[in-house]
Symmetry: C2
Subunit: 148 residues, 2 copies
């Protein structure tokens, strides 16, 4: 009877699955941080500086929410800001932002290569970006390289 084996397999699968879920959940905070940092980097590149209002506007969030979040990002060493002044990224912040943008670009190009509309590629890549492992990202990059 493969009952024991089946149970063992089930247990193993359960453990792995719960790991996957836990990973997903604990990444939420990190995802948000990445969104902020990526956006701040974009704003600095686009208009020379990033202000709270701009961030709030683009994220569709209240000013006060941004203030609170920026405090956390400062504590995390990703951002610097003096009171009533514009937002800047630390070295670590820039690294994170660059990494995020790179992932974002790959995922978006991949979706385009898959034949999706620009609109869909933009929206879906935003959602997918944070959930793609390095292995998958590499496969996407390879696919884009082969199909362009």
């Amino acid at each position: 009877m493969p009952q024991t084996a089946r149970r063992a397999r089930a247990a193993k699968a359960a453990k792995l699955q719960s790991a996957a879920f836990r990973r997903t959940r604990s990444d939420h905070s990190r995802e948000l941080a990445e969104d902020y940092v990526e956006l701040i980097a974009d704003l600095i590149d686009e208009r020379g500086l990033a202000r709270g209002t701009d961030v709030a506007g683009r994220l569709g969030v209240a000013n006060a929410t941004v203030v609170k979040m920026l405090k956390r990002l400062q504590d995390a060493g990703l951002v610097t800001q003096e009171p009533y002044r514009e937002i800047n990224l630390t070295g670590e912040g820039w690294l994170l932002a660059e990494n995020g943008r790179k992932r974002h670009r790959i995922v978006e190009n991949f979706l385009l290569a898959l034949g999706l509309s620009e609109e869909t590629a933009r929206i879906d890549s935003e959602g997918i970006e944070h959930h793609v492992s390095d292995e998958t990202l590499k496969a996407m990059a390879r696919f884009v390289a082969r199909n362009s």
Copy 2:
């Protein structure tokens, strides 16, 4: 009820800004519900019934958390449960679960067709599943059909 109104107002106000960000964020609660419902369906199919402990174990979460969540899912009309008894899905719950499993299957098969390991395909599909539009899902299904 003021929640919905507030969100609607906020959405309208920030309409020109990034819809993708807000969509991602507001979907979190829905995603969690889908994860629960999908898992409950799996448990019922696998072992004939779903208990709180099983759900807690697979999601990597405390029992009390599951209890609280189940209350919400009951309020949402997705789940039924009598005190100290096993968990059941309503008709709507089954529909949601089936839909989730279908999406899940497509994404996972797609990642496999892309050449990823089973392990990676399983983990990444879990994260990606909820962020894929119908358009993208269709493209993934097409890809799988062509490459199998």
